[in-house]
């Protein structure tokens, strides 16, 4: 397993290298001179602009610019945000905890609900409860997150006033106290539900169908023939097999969540990576933009690795070596 993991991580390097070329090229292709962010816009002296261009290396051949960028990047220097005037890594580090918290909450909600609803519906298919859950699922699958987010704010934040409509925490609370965490939780709940709604619905459906399918498997019949009580058959034999695919989704979720956070964080004015990304695009903050894009690509690759490793852990038939 360790050997496999190391090999996989090594295998990610060429992929990331290729992606970095794509990312760099795209940033170069983006309209608008990225200089405008780095040079005092009030200073129009052509000589000054030319000097700055030279100084910032915009006149170097493209491959040199790339090499400079990538070698800095690998040393953890993602460049300086043209908007915030501080290293992009610091900006990202500031926002990262919020996105991680949102992502974890969303995952938690997704898996808890999907597990509860999916196992109920799978065990009692075609009953009233199952139909209710199915109806919920269809709505969850059909309601895009941005619509769900807008509705959620309209209904739960404005009309009912149950949840705050923006931010990540009430600033007046002392960091680390219980009420601080409650406030964070209160702020993250609505966006987390919206972010997780789609996967909750699809995982529920998936789990349900998988349970129904596994119920018909030969080994379940074997277990019955052994005299194993029904509840134990569900708990061990069926569930153990049914959670295998759902667990492996966890890895893939990592990449998806952060992408999904772009919309959710924007709607809820939640200061995380997604919102940062979007504002970096509109403001042409290239260093931040490139760093986030690389980060998300890495997360996607990393998520795939996690998925494979989890698969190897939960399914004894898969051997990772």
């Amino acid at each position: 397993m360790l050997k496999y993991t190391i090999r996989r991580i090594l295998g990610m390097i060429p992929m990331l290298f290729l992606i970095s070329i794509v990312v760099f090229s795209l940033a170069k292709l983006m309209p608008g001179d990225s200089l405008s962010g780095e040079i005092d816009p009030a200073n129009t002296d052509p000589q000054y602009i030319a000097e700055m261009r030279d100084k910032l290396g915009y006149n170097d051949p493209v491959h040199e610019q790339y090499l400079r960028w990538i070698s800095n990047f690998m040393q953890g220097d993602f460049g300086k945000s043209t908007r915030y005037k501080i290293p992009a890594s610091e900006i990202i580090a500031e926002r990262m905890p919020n996105t991680i918290f949102l992502g974890l909450m969303s995952l938690l909600i997704t898996y808890v609900f999907a597990f509860l609803m999916g196992s109920y519906a799978g065990r009692k298919p075609y009953t009233l409860g199952d139909n209710f859950i199915s109806a919920f699922n269809y709505i969850g699958l059909a309601l895009p997150s941005f619509i769900a987010g807008v509705f959620a704010i309209y209904i739960f934040a404005f009309n009912l006033g149950w949840f705050p409509s923006n931010g990540s925490v009430d600033i007046s609370l002392e960091q680390g106290t219980l009420s601080y965490w409650i406030s964070r939780f209160h702020h993250v709940l609505l966006p987390a539900i919206v972010l997780g709604a789609l996967s909750t619905a699809s995982y529920t459906q998936f789990l349900r169908n998988d349970i129904i399918e596994n119920t018909r498997k030969d080994y379940v019949r074997t277990a019955r023939a052994k005299g194993t009580p029904e509840h134990k058959i569900y708990r061990s034999h069926i569930m153990r097999n049914s959670i295998i695919p759902v667990v492996t989704f966890l890895g893939i979720d990592i990449g998806l969540l952060v992408s999904g956070a772009i919309i959710t964080e924007t709607i809820f004015t939640y200061p995380g990576i997604g919102q940062l990304f979007l504002s970096s695009v509109t403001q042409r903050d290239y260093p931040v933009l490139m760093a986030i894009t690389m980060l998300l690509s890495f997360l996607t690759l990393f998520g795939n690795l996690i998925a494979d490793i989890l698969y190897g852990i939960v399914d004894p038939r898969i051997r990772l070596d």
């Binding site: 309209p31 608008g32 001179d33 405008s36 005092d40 816009p41 009030a42 200073n43 129009t44 052509p46 000054y48 000097e51 700055m52 908007r83 915030y84 005037k85 501080i86 290293p87 610091e90 900006i91 500031e94 926002r95 704010i153 934040a157 404005f158 006033g161 705050p164 409509s165 923006n166 931010g167 990540s168 925490v169 600033i171 007046s172 924007t266 709607i267 809820f268 004015t269 200061p271 919102q275 940062l276 504002s279 509109t282 403001q283 042409r284």
Partner: protein, 568 residues
């Protein structure tokens, strides 16, 4: 604040009320503002006020390093400038007062007992520190142009001198500054924001912007102290008990960022006490029972420009033919029902203007004195076009140019996420089509838009734009014959002379009336030639919960926050 010009596109997106105004200082009440402080009893102490920004703040929380409105809004709650501006944008003493004989040598005197939040007293050395910090960074610092006019600043920057020779600290409270030459606007131009030596002495100038002293633990001399910063999200400020103008009433101010779509909802729920908002939501905000709208004159105006020439990096050349006909341009302004347009897209929060300056500025000439008034008049517009030879020769309902060729007005407007931009641009083209001008609308990404304008991209012919001006009234950087900001690329020798004379100390001396007259003459020429069609000047609005008292706004911004209070 001294950044003389702001791109309007940025303004529109951020919709900050404080825009180019420089500070909050002692204000005398003016007639056109709603002052609810007078109605009620005595101010009460205590309480928390929540102030919402509808644009993200960058977190560069120091006058010397910030560059956006969001940060500005926060800084002025906790840091005071040395010089303030009154409702006519004339400089008035705040912490510092000054004397000058010749507009070259100034003596500034600081008030005693003004303390930084860290307990140190503010002295002239803090100002020197600020000026030297900027000078040591030089061209890469955006305020360099506000410092390099001081004698010896350039030498200091180049390392030829250990100190800026034009700065002479007489004692802790008195400083003499000598500028490289006499100018009418040396005072308005000079960088008048000190930097605490104690906080920053251990930080290299290059690293200051990223330091925690700027980003998370800023200090100032203002009525509130920053107690906590959540980057990009909110800032908590607490009362500065030792504020030199008196103890603030409010115990706490919370500044938070919300999406503009949430404005009315948050105001209604009382989770936001005070926030600027987009003009289009004015009716909704006014409809809220618990909120009052403070309206005050702004410093920005919108125009429709024509590309009349190109900029070669040094000079503006008026060498593009298509829109050279003045009658064509005038007709296009007559064709626009500006009253209706402003009512529709700015909820009436603006007035049509006939000159490229906001009324609030002291150099602005009286609108009524303008030679052409450009009242909405379709017939007049059509007549002008007929005169100019733009006639419909092929009976397709649209006019051809005097040579009988097809004439299409290519109109461009910047695009952001805001859907009303498209609508308001479209509405303008509809006015022009009414008078028989075929138009084509192009929405251009805002980041590209100003880039293309600067580079005279041929795809931009007629363009929508806006300027927000700062405290320095000089139109030369915008309309001079050697500046890239002159987007229409308009050159008129007479006008150019007027602008140059107005800042020439040998012509105007220290006589502001004479200076104003020169500007008025310039405005008349502009009014007749309309290289850009002035559309409107915008009023600023601020929504304030009615429990908040003592808040006053004028063109230079709000009054000092220590006077604000909430009913409990």
């Amino acid at each position: 604040m001294k950044k003389p010009l702001l791109w309007f596109a940025v303004l529109v997106m951020s919709m900050s009320a404080f825009l180019a105004a420089c500070s909050g200082g002692e204000k005398s009440n003016t007639d056109d503002k709603k002052d609810n402080a007078a109605n009620d009893s005595k101010p009460q102490d205590g309480g928390t006020m929540t102030y919402a920004l509808d644009t993200e703040f960058k977190g560069l929380l120091n006058w010397n390093f910030y560059d956006t409105d969001g940060d500005d809004d926060i800084i002025q709650l906790f840091d005071d400038p040395l010089i303030d501006y009154d409702e006519n944008l004339k400089a008035v003493p705040n912490i510092a007062s000054w004397e000058t004989e010749d507009n070259q040598n100034y003596t500034f005197t600081f008030k005693k007992g003004v303390k930084w939040h860290n307990g140190e007293e503010l002295t002239v050395h803090d100002w020197v520190f600020a000026l030297e910090t900027i000078a040591s960074i030089g061209g890469e610092h955006q305020r360099w142009s506000n410092v390099n006019t001081i004698e010896g600043a350039k030498e200091f920057n180049e390392g030829k001198a250990d100190a800026i020779s034009g700065l002479e600290a007489v004692d802790d409270y008195t400083i003499k500054i000598k500028f490289d030459k006499a100018r009418v606007n040396n005072l308005e131009n000079v960088w008048a924001y000190p930097l605490s030596r104690k906080e920053f002495e251990s930080v290299a100038p290059k690293d200051m912007a990223a330091s925690e002293q700027v980003r998370s633990k800023p200090v100032g001399t203002g009525p509130f102290k920053v107690s906590k910063v959540i980057p990009g999200e909110s800032v908590e400020l607490v009362r500065n008990e030792e504020y030199w103008k008196g103890k603030p009433h409010l115990e706490k101010i919370i500044v938070k960022v919300i999406d503009s779509s949430l404005t009315t909802g948050e105001l209604k729920n009382g989770t936001v006490d005070m926030t600027p908002f987009h003009p289009t939501v004015l009716p909704e905000v006014e409809a809220l029972n618990n909120v009052e709208v403070i309206r005050y004159p702004g410093l920005s105006y919108y125009y429709v420009g024509f590309k009349l020439g190109t900029y070669d990096g040094k000079k503006v050349n008026m060498n593009i033919k298509k829109y050279q006909n003045i009658k064509l341009r005038q007709a296009m302004l007559y064709a626009i029902n500006r009253e209706e347009w402003v009512a529709a897209f700015f909820s009436g929060l603006g007035k049509p203007v006939n000159r490229p300056l906001p009324t609030a500025h002291w150099i602005a000439a009286d609108n009524g004195d303008m030679p052409v008034q450009y009242e909405f008049d379709v017939e007049k517009a059509k007549a002008l076009l007929d005169e100019a030879g733009y006639k419909d020769t092929d009976a397709d309902g649209f006019r051809e140019d005097p040579n009988g060729k097809e004439f299409v007005v290519k109109f461009s407007h910047y695009a952001t996420g805001n859907p009303t931009f498209e609508a308001r641009a479209k509405a303008l083209t509809q006015y022009w089509e009414e008078i028989g001008l075929k138009t084509k609308l192009q929405m251009v990404d805002v980041n590209l838009y100003y880039d293309q304008l600067e580079k005279d991209d041929p795809s931009l012919e007629v363009f929508f734009g806006g300027w927000g001006t700062g405290t320095d009234p000089d139109p030369l950087p915008l309309w001079g014959d050697d500046t890239v900001w002159n987007y229409p690329r308009w050159v008129n020798e007479e006008a150019q002379k007027l602008l140059e004379d107005a800042v020439d100390i040998s012509v105007v001396g220290t006589d502001t009336e004479k200076r104003k007259q020169l500007y008025a003459d310039w405005q008349k020429i502009f009014n007749e030639e309309v290289p850009a069609l002035p559309i409107l000047e915008l009023d600023e609005v601020m929504a304030v919960n009615e429990r908040v008292e003592g808040v006053i706004f004028d063109v230079s911004g709000p009054n000092s926050a220590h006077e604000w209070w909430v009913k409990q």
